[in-house]
Structure formats: C-alpha cells, structure tokens
Symmetry: C2
Subunit: 216 residues, 2 copies
C-alpha cells in the first residue's frame, strides 16, 4: 500500500524556512542552518555524492525520510524562486543536473510547463490541477513505494488539511529563526487524527514521528 | 549571581496552553496533557506530596527547573481564572493550601491585593508596577538563589522581549493541541541573544536548554 508521507526540519520556534526566500537564500535568511544536522550525516552526504559523514540516530532518520520513496511532490517555492510564468525555461531547480530525489517529482504550480528530465531518475513534472491531482499522478508513478511530500510548509499544510497524509516526521533543531514560514498554522482540526509513534534525539536534533491513530 | 530563568512545556505544534482557559481547564482545553511527562517523575510527585515516580532524564530536567530557585514570578492567568479586581479575595491559586513553589511568588496584575501567605514558604505578592518592578522585588527576595518565571506564555514573552532572561528551558512534548497560547510569537529579535546549551530527550519529551551567547 502506497502511503503519503512528509518529513521536514523545524526550528524550535516553529519555522521550516527563514524569511525572505531568494536565489541567495533558498530556505530564507538563516534557513540553511535548519539542515546542518542532515548535512552531517553519511546518508545525506552520499545522496549528494560526498563521502564520510556521521552514523547513528540522525543518520537513521535522514535515511528513513527517503527510504521506499517512489515519487515526490513539492511546491513551486521549493522548486525555485521564480514566480509567475516560467519564462525561458532555464530554471531546473536548486540542485543542478543530478538532484537528490531520483524519482519523478511533481511540482505544484499555476503555470503549465513541459517536464524537465535530469540525471539518475529525477524528472520534474508540473501539475496545475491542484494537490489531489498531483497525488493521483504521484501514487501512479510510485508503484509499490510511497509518495513523499518534500515541502515546503504550505504544501505540507494543504495535504494535512485535506486529510491525505498517512505518516509524517518532524526534525526539531535548537536553531531559533525568529521569523519565517510556520508549519503548524491554520491547520484546523487536521492534527487530531495523528499520534506520536516515536521520539528520539541526538544532541543536535529531536525526531518526532507521527502516524494515523486508526493505523496504530 | 542571581539569574532570571524560565522553564515551560510546549506542544510540538508550539502551544504552552490550550484554548479556553477556565476553572475546569487551568491550562486550557487539552493543556493538561502537556504535563503528563512531569507528573510521571519522582521529583514532581514529591513536590506534590506523592511517592514513587520515574527517575532518569525527565526526572533530572523536572528537578533542574526548580533547583536553586529563591523567588518565583507568574502572570495572573497562571495564578487563576479571575479577571478584573480580586472580589472577595477567596481565590488563593490553583494549588490549595500547600502550593509547590515554596518561595515568595510575585504575581503580575493590574489590581492591587494584600499578600496571601500559605504553607511551607509560599507567599503570593501582587505586583501592579510591571515586570521590571516584579523582577527587582524577586531578586531581592531570592538572595543568592535564582528567580524563576513560572509562566504563562505572555509573561515569559515580556521578559524575553525586555532582554532580562538569563537561561531558559523548553520541554517539547509530542502532544498536538491545534490551538492555544504560543510561546514563540511576537518576540522580535529577542531570541538572537541565546544559544542552545543542551538537547536531550526521553521517548516522552525533548529538553532544550538555552543560555546567553555572551555567557557561554
């Protein structure tokens, strides 16, 4: 059974990106610090073609986020800083020719665009029909595997509000951003459907995993 | 040197109390669940005259919050549900004749009231001159020991914004309240002065401790 999952890193003060996202600051001002814990892990370094890195609790949780993922969904702000139509089509995401997804990636946008095929299994498809249409396509592409909502906050919120998420994991780092994009905002009663399945931490980050109450 | 400290438990979604505080729900609807981890510890049970309880990481952090505290400051919503003037003066807090503070407690209020002396060292003083005046009185009362801001969110925020807090600890539980009082809201740049000194967790709660950067 394909599940819809998401995993995201949050500052202790509740932000999953800093303010003022731009070409220089894909995660907003100060937002890069959210991912220091992940950059330190062997799993993350391997995904980006680098050697070394830490093993242990954080590495296990960096690995579990991408394990068994057959398709990815993201918002257009996660894909890039461009707003409005796609212009000359030169923008192919933040990640160069070999993005770390290695699956079909469905980008939610109001502006149609032809797919962009990059290396090692990453192809970006642009979906203009909304989150449910994107999910149908992603589930179809994922086969036996799961669909991962990669971010950002507003896309994760939309899937949570719609009751479509099966499992989610939040990595809470001690970083204090002071401002930015909140994950836990305007969710109504959506969170009442979930319960914590696991909490573990290193000295760098605490990992909270949630599942549906009716699945536990 | 007397330090000003605070310690508070927060839900993963950022609330330190649920919505709709009332006589039946001192911590708002659902807010009692925030403190399940503390109720389970030996330290907390002993503070409330009960035997047994768990030892380990959570007990250490339940104990550190009240260690070396010579005076306590709280907001009037933490003291009770009464708004406006104090009426017949029958309200003596949520905690009965033997509150768990065992120090002078300075309650911030706009309405003057005579002190209320209860058992084993807890006396409530009512301060109408604002947070700095309350701090001066609390520091004086604390002697060599520290002053603890016991809550709630708005009082902790006021001391943070004023740059008066030396150390703070947040206990983040996996509980999801969905609504209520946020701690991390409207703080401006106040948090930029702090850095994380420690992160540890059990499977029930993660403990984040912060100190001033210039003190580390």
């Amino acid at each position: 059974m394909t599940k819809l999952r998401f995993t995201i890193t949050m500052s202790l003060d509740g932000y999953v990106a800093g303010p003022g996202q731009s070409l220089e600051h894909p995660l907003g001002e100060g937002g890069e610090a959210l991912h220091d814990w992940a950059f330190a892990t062997r799993t993350f370094r391997a995904m980006h073609g680098q050697e070394g890195g830490e093993t242990g609790i954080d590495d296990e949780h960096a690995a579990s986020g991408s394990k068994n993922v057959g398709a990815t969904i993201m918002g257009r702000k996660m894909f890039g800083p461009i707003r409005g139509d796609w212009g000359d089509g030169a923008w192919k995401g933040w990640w160069g020719d070999d993005p770390p997804f290695h699956t079909p990636v469905f980008v939610l946008t109001h502006h149609p665009r032809q797919p962009v095929e990059l290396e090692r299994g990453t192809t970006f498809f642009f979906v203009t029909e909304g989150i449910e249409a994107a999910l149908v396509r992603a589930v179809d592409a994922a086969g036996e595997r799961d669909v991962l909502v990669a971010g950002g906050a507003s896309v994760a919120q939309q899937y949570l509000r719609a009751g479509l998420v099966d499992e989610w994991e939040i990595h809470v780092v001690p970083t204090l951003l002071g401002d930015g994009a909140r994950l836990f905002d305007d969710l109504g009663d959506a969170l009442a459907a979930y319960e914590c399945a696991s909490l573990v931490s290193s000295s760098a980050v605490a990992h909270y995993t949630y599942v549906r109450k009716d699945a536990a």
